[in-house]
Amino acid sequence: MITEENNNYQELTDTALKVREHIIRMSTDGGCFTGASLSAVDLIVYLYSRFLNINKDNLDDPNRDYLFLSKGHDVPALYGTFAELGLLEKERLKNHLLLNDHIYWHPNTKIPGIEFHSGSLGHLPSVAIGVAMDLKISGSANKVVCILGDGELNEGTCWEAMLVANAYKLDNLLFVVDRNHFQANMRTEDLIPLEPLADKFEAFGAAVKRINGHSFAELDEAFGAFPFQAGKLNVIIADTVRGKGLPSIQERADRWFCNFNADEIQQLLLELHGEHRTTLTSETLVVR
């Protein structure tokens, strides 16, 4: 049995740590959606390192795989991963929110490797369906992954898309839910409860796996089995922790968007490595 202790995943663990550092560094001078980015890091690092046939040399190749980040506000995790895997120059991350580049709070196609812009929730499931439909029509074997937030599942178009994906038997399409249990200001279960989530997806016709989204072994096992049911939309619910890696903001409703000062950034980088607890002094966002 594969376990984390085998160290099969040391490379991924190291990459994920660096991506988390990038996210922390982007969480200043205007800030970003730090918590939602940190929950998705392991998932995104895993996808680009082990699952998707996407690299810096095949971004325009029609035979590449496709990743759609529907939950667009976690794009620092994607840009950090791109930087570590050589799709994006690391220096460019310093251009976050500057007019000399196109790195802002949501993804856009001016950044190489971004397949489609997002930010408005509930859109990319349908765009991913269109690509998956074309791959089926064209007889191509490429995979299409669409990452959704759990809060995003409030949007009816996610469920509409599942009906259509199943009707067209799009088993080349994989929806991955970053189940960090929060929407912007609230725990999902305190606002619009989603559980039992796997049952809901199954009732819509999907084949579902639920895993710990911070365990590379579990990610490996679930994605390795794709498509785990032919003729159906496949869904992976990745249980994650918002703010994963930073105990001082982890699972805090008032720290979904963070704009830290320089001192906090230094402390948080230490905290990420487990030897410090940050004293946060920057403003929090009031829970509505």
């Binding site: 029609p62 196609t109 397949e115 489609f116 812009h117 408005s120 859109h123 990319l124 499931p125 349908s126 765009v127 991913a128 369906i129 269109g130 690509v131 998956a132 439909m133 074309d134 791959l135 089926k136 029509i137 064209s138 178009t157 509409e160 898309a161 009906l163 259509v164 009707a167 067209y168």
Partner: protein, 312 residues
């Protein structure tokens, strides 16, 4: 040639064309059998259909999508604006029963703000053919273009034979020094009737079939304004945001003005009934148009208006 025949011919000649519908099959009944996998019916999901059309276009396809005008432009608005407009993808929107053509359906189905909504999206072009002949002359170029396009589908037959279509150009039917009627879509048919009545009353009358509302033929508008004492904008659309607004924008842009009489729906939905009754009730028959311009009643007879077949 019908819409469906043209679409069939186009899709058979070009493998990249995908025909989609949100379970609105009136215009594409035979295409599932002909196109196989290139016919995609997403069910009653206008939003998902538009998003999927964007995805197909990302892969190099040209999706021609069908839905009722009200739902295509309003239910799916943000998907058109965000997934098609921002990405500037060649998705072709075929909107069914726009304007008065929704006749008996009621206000839920009345797309009388569609021109306003669609022309407000950067990159999206907007077209409104006068009848079936105009439609089949316009669509080949609309579909060949790389731009997203919104077309007010109008398959009504008239006896008028239209000129070849140039995107961005209006069709000048007649020029006149007293009045010029600017119109688009199904009211072209009534405008033709109005023009004959106005002529028999001794007026010099012009008529322009706008065809392309975005880009719009600014020179045609400016010329009509300069040479006619009165310009009439005639449309089955809200007064806000349609042709009257477009004419106002063009005149102001060129620092000129004109006497403009708008005929449109002013802050109201129209009374649902079969099309001939709708036109009569709302004052849009050829005779009513002519008499509104003249300012007096005439003895002219309004020709019969055909009821469209029910098609949902």
């Amino acid at each position: 040639m019908s819409y469906e025949e043209l679409l069939t011919q186009t899709a058979l000649a070009n493998e990249q064309v995908i025909v989609m519908t949100a379970e609105n099959r009136a215009l594409v009944r035979n295409l599932p059998g002909i196109l196989g996998k290139r016919f995609i019916d997403t069910g009653i999901t206008e939003q998902t259909m538009i998003g999927a059309a964007a995805g197909l276009a990302l892969r190099g396809r040209t999706p021609v999508v069908h839905a009722l005008a009200a739902f295509l432009t309003m239910r799916a608005f943000e998907f058109v604006r965000t997934d098609v407009g921002i990405a500037n993808l060649p998705v072709k929107l075929s909107s069914f029963i726009p304007g008065f053509l929704s006749d008996g359906n009621g206000p839920t189905h009345q797309a009388i703000e569609d021109i306003s909504i669609m022309r407000g999206i950067p990159n999206v072009t907007v077209f409104a053919p006068a009848d079936e002949d105009d439609l089949v002359k316009m669509l080949p170029q609309i579909w060949e273009s790389k731009s997203p396009a919104y077309t007010r589908i109008n398959t009504r037959k008239t006896t008028y034979v239209h000129e070849p279509f140039t995107p961005g150009k209006a069709e000048v039917i007649a020029e006149g020094s007293d009045v010029t009627i600017l119109t688009y879509g199904l009211l072209f048919e009534q405008a033709l009737i109005a023009v004959e009545m106005l002529k028999s009353e001794g007026l010099s009358v012009g008529l322009i079939n706008m065809r392309s509302l975005k880009p719009v033929d600014e020179q045609a508008i400016l010329k009509a304004s300069a040479q006619s004492k009165l310009v009439v904008t005639l449309e089955d659309h809200f007064l806000t945001g349609g042709l009257y607004t477009i004419v106002a924008e063009v005149l102001l842009k060129h620092r000129t003005t004109a006497n403009v009489l708008p005929m449109a729906l002013n802050e109201k939905w129209f009374r649902p009934a079969l099309l001939p009754s709708v036109l009569e009730h709302e004052g849009f028959t050829g005779k009513q148009i002519a008499e509104k311009i003249l300012g007096y009643q005439t003895a002219h007879n309004q020709p019969q208006i055909l009821t469209p077949e029910f098609s949902e």
